[in-house]
Each structure stands twice: as C-alpha cells, then as structure tokens.
Amino acid sequence: MGQCQCGNSAESKEKYLAPLKTILEGYEGKQKDLIPVLQKAQDEYGYLPEEVIKEIANALNLSLSQVYGVVTFYSQFHLEPRGENIIRVCLGTACHVRGGGQVLNKIKEELGVDDGETTEDLKFTLESVACIGACGLAPVIMINDDTHGRLTPDKIPAILDKYKA
C-alpha cells in the first residue's frame, strides 16, 4: 500500500486527511455510498492511500476488509500513486483489429514502462483498457480526458511531447 506522504505527527496527519473529512460530510454511516465516496477520495488524492481507506471505513461504519474488497474489485480504484497524466490505450475489438497493440508497444517503448506502470518521474501512468466507446476512430488512446484517434505508432512521440511540458 502507498505511504502516507505526511510524516507521522498527528498534526500533519490531520492536515493530510482534512480534504477527506470534507468529502465524508453527509456520508457518515451511508454504506451504499461507498463507491461514490471512494471515487471522490481518489479524485482528491490521485489514488487511495491506506490512511484514506481506514478513515472511509470508519466513517461509513464498514470493516477495513469490506472497503478493501470493493477497492480491489473495481479496476478504477488504485492503491499505488499514479502519474500526473493517465494514458489509457484502448485494446477493444475495433482497436485490436486496427493495430491498437502496436500503438501500445510504441508507448511502452517511448516511456520505458510496461502496461499498468508509472514512469519514475510520476509524469505518466500507462494502462490498457477494454473499450472506451470511440470505436469509430480506432485505434484510440485517452490521455486524461482527451481522446486521440486514428493513431499509428509514428504519431505517438508528438502526442506524448504535448504532455511532457
């Protein structure tokens, strides 16, 4: 699990968890809202550190294992820190038959990371996904919320450059 970035003093921990407290307002004991709470927490912290998960379990009156079970079930949730830019390479059917695999290989080569990994400078996280529903433009990748379509491996370096700055 990820390390708390805040040192160990009670004061800095409190500061670290302050945004989470705001998120949790109004959700106390509402177990059905676990998924939206996790989504909001991840938006805030970029991933789900152990301290955050513990706090959520407490607030929603769930056991840590229940929360951990949900976090690990859904592919959207992450227990490790993530890159500043998230690259999602679509390997859905349409992208698969139109060369999505080559696009993925090119990105791996450019960034020097494997599928699911984050670059050392925390700039990029590379993931492959099943389908992002932009099949008409296959092969496609998404970087953060931008979709890039009709790709070939040679277009990749220029696209990545835009996010390196």
Binding site: Q31, K32, D33, L34, I35, P36, L38, Q39, G69, V70, F73, Y74, S75, Q76, F77, G92, T93, A94, H96, V97, R98, V129, A130, C131, I132, G133, A134, C135, G136, L137, A138, V140, D145, D146, T147, H148, G149
Partner: protein, 600 residues
Amino acid sequence: MEQSIYRSHILVCGGTGCVSSGCKQAQDALKDELAKHDLTSEIKIVETGCHGFCEKGPIMIMYPEGVFYCELTPEDMPELVEEHILKGRTVERLLYTEPNSKKSIPSYEEIDFYKKQQRLVLGNCGHMDPESIEEYIATGGYEAIGKALTEMTPEGVIEEVKDAGLRGRGGGGFPTGLKWQFAAGAKSDKKYVICNADEGDPGAFMDRSLLEGDPHRIIEGMMIGAYATGADEGYVYVRAEYPLAIERLQKALDDAREYGLLGENIFGTDFNFDLHIKAGAGAFVCGEETALMNSIEGKRGMPRPRPPFPAEQGLWGKPSNINNVESYANVPNIIRDGAEAYKAIGTEGSKGTKVFALTGKINNTGLAEVPMGITMKEIIYDIGGGISDGNKFKAVQIGGPSGGCLPEELLDLPVDYDSLIEVGAMMGSGGLVVMDDSTCMVDVARFFLNFTQSESCGKCTPCREGTKRMLEILNRITSGEGKDGDIEMLERLAENIKSTSLCGLGQTAPNPVLSTLKYFRHEYEAHIYDEICPAGACEDMLKGYVIDEDACIGCTACARVCPVDAIEGNVKEAHVIDLDKCISCGACVSKCKFDAISQA
C-alpha cells in the same frame, strides 16, 4: 426569454467521436469567423449529439439547406463562412465523397451511410441540442409520458409495450413488456426502475451516443416504465468511462426537475418519480443485472443467483425492473405513436429498429439504426461502404464477447434476434466489428477470451477456472505450440462453461471460440498442424516472408516500404528477402500487387 429569429442554423456534432477529431477547435474558429462578419445574430450554432458518422468527424450540417460538411478543420472556417454563408455557394471540397464513385454528395439524406437507415431511436441525435429540454419538448418529447399518465392505466401501458413486441436491446432479447408485467405484479411498498448504461462490450457505443445526444428520451422511457411497474425511484448506472454522458444526463435531470417532470404529482396526477445517476467503477460484469444492483448498493459487483429475479427481489431486496438504455429509448415512440405503428417495422419475432455500431476494417465506421430483418450485406456494403483499403471481407463479429463471428456465406442472413442465435451468434448490444483477411480468427477468439477471463468476477468456478484454461490453450495455439486434442478440449470446456456458469458472462463467454471453430476451424488446424497463421497476424508464428521469383516483376514497391531494409534486388528483376533481417511486419505483402510475397 429573449428569442431571436435566425436565418440559418449550423449543427455541429459534439459527440465523443467528433470531439476527439477536433470539433471544439473547428467550432471556436467558426464562432470567430461569424463574429468577424457580424453574423452572430443571423446564424445560430447548435452543438448536437452524435450524428453517427464518426469516421468523417468533425461534422457540420447547414440548415435550412441540409448541406453536410465533414472532416473539417479550423482552417476551413473562413472559406466555409465566406462561401456558404455569405455567398450561398456550396464548398465542394468539404463535402462527403462517396468512396466508390468518388462523387461528392451535398445533401445529408443522399449519403449512402444514411439512406438505408431508419433513425427512429436516434432521430434526435445530431439534430438538436441535447442540453435543451425545450428542444426535446418541441420534437414531441414528454408527450408519451403525458399520454400514459392521463389517458392510460399501468396495465394499458404494459399491454401496449407487449403488443409492440419490444425486446431487450442489451443482449438477451427478453420481451420488455413481460418483464414489466412481472415487476408490476410484485407486491411491495417500494419498487425501483433501473437503466443499465454500463455499456461494456468492446465495440459498442450506441448507449453512449443516446445518453450524450438525447438524454431526455431515456428519462421519459424510464418514467413510463416506472408508471407501468409502480416504481417511484430510479437509477441510471453509467460507466465511469463516459464522463460526457454523465454530464449531459445530469443536466437533463436537473432541467426535468425544474420543469416538474420529475418529482411529485407529475402532470397533476398522483404519480411521483425521481431519478439518480450512479457512476460505475470499471467492472464489465456490472452489466449483468444482479451484479449491477450489488454495485449500486455499494458492494463488490458480483452476480446473485436467480431466482429470485429482480422483479421479485432486486435492488435492496425490493422489486426492480431493469432495462438497457436503447430499450428505454424505444418506449416513448411506442406509447406516443401506438404499438401498431411500431410493429409495422421489423420481422415476425423482432420488431422495430436496432442500432448497430459499425467498426473495424470498414469504410464508414459509425452508428447505424436499421430496421430489424435487414441483411448483414446491406449493413456492411450499402451503409458501411464495404471493406477498407480494398481488402477482402473475412468475417463480422457481432454481439461482443458474448457473440460470434459470421463468415461470408452468412452475409445474406436477415438480422434479428432469432436468426442470429440460430447461426451461433447473438444480437448482444449490437456491436459489429468487420474483419478482413489480415485478421486471424484464432487470435480474435483469444482476444475475447482474454477479455472475459480478466473480467470474470471469480464467484463461480466454471467461469473463473474454465475461461482461464481455455485462454491458456488459445495462447498456446497462437504462439505456435498448439497440439493434437486442443480443439476437442476447447469444445468440451466451452460446453461445460456454458451450461454451468452462474451468470450471463460465463454462459456466453465461450461463444467467440465456438463460432470461430464452427466457421473457421481450418484456421485452428493450420495453427496446430501446419504451424502457420494463415492471416499472418500471430507474431510468434511468423518466420518471415519470401518472394516468389516467378511472380515478382521487380517493381521495387516492397523494397521501398520495408522498414528494416531486408529486401534487395534490382529494378525489373526478382527481389529477395533476407530472413535474418525480416521482422515479419507484413508491410511488403500489402504493397505487392502481384501476390508474389507469402509467409516463409
């Protein structure tokens, strides 16, 4: 509200496809250009939902003329405004060019892609501002729920939907009216309606398009379903991967509440109803109805055994009715125009239209809504414009990971629920992925198994272990290590997984393998016994390419395209490939006009 009269409207497609092709930039440039000519009070820009022709984005349609411009860039805008708007002359070079005749076609309706379509469910998509409730109402929106609430009983609504013959558009094809009847018959103080918008099938994006392009239609469909079944609360479960759909739906819900279309005493009756959005968190299995309900409840999205069915014990143990986005989108038309009009379209067992997502190696990718019973050939060749790059058709995959691959012999098959089941495929959500002779069918089967295996939730053994074992065999075959008996083992595992899995995911997971074995068995055999991938797609099996000396005329096309300079030879003399250098990329094969290059 201040209303201006505009002499012309420019509809700019703002669907996800066009957004990624750069429609925002084009639209900004258009705005600037209109301002420059002081035309902003005369010309209105309307950002619409998806036009379906994603291949050609960004798209703009000029009204009242109905001229269709495509593949636009910001640099085209000065000319477009100068010529089309100011001088009234069509800009020929920005029109759609028909791929076969090379003719440019100005009018929207005359483009082949749209000609054979019957856009009833997608009727508003691309023709109105999806964020405007007024525009939806102006096209007859919320008339159907008004009619249902004030002129019909819940039983009457159910009868109408049953009579129309609407079947579930999400995959199974279960009669919608019957489903409603079960939920209506359940006795409870609380009932729910749920819309399944967890469109997870790779290759399908019609639900996304509907939510982005016509969100009020889904709300209205759900309201009618709620009235018929006696529910007062609803959920729309949308994939988290669809942020624009969630945003537009949220806006639609807020507007509907403000107009009193959601809330209490709707249309002055005692019908109360409100809706919530739940964003998924990335799990394909949540498209299964009972898993989806677990996910709404905040749990791991694992399916529950049925019975009890959701109509008896669904969300939080209460009777619940769950339908797919496209199913709900059909409902307002049925109630407003009546079952008779609805069932005039379609075949004996499948009524109405179906939206297909055309993708893969096809010229016109996009969304097409066609009457049930149209042939696959018409969809692929007339609407889809045939196979891209002049290649040869090999197969069409229909129904996503639950469906099957159909060969050329079945292209004349009229497409409906029952005909597809008969040939070993299924309607599924309507994704059509076209494949040409460079696609390996064993690799396609492996692709789908890899998908279902990683998405299997792990609750039941046949799906968890069985798909893993099948995938291992397919991985071996596609890496050149297949052995005698593999095909038989795949068939045995497939039958067992189909008949013993808990939910639809496992029960249909073997379909891609079974259908490719049925129609493309020779490709499996070639991999196992001849150690060759006929399509040249399985990288591990490629040993490089060779040139047939007699067929080669020495045109040098192959040598020029080779990325590693493995091909040598003089002009007008037979060329030779150095197998030590060859990386089996296949670039030379696609360039050779004389069929002189083949696998070593």
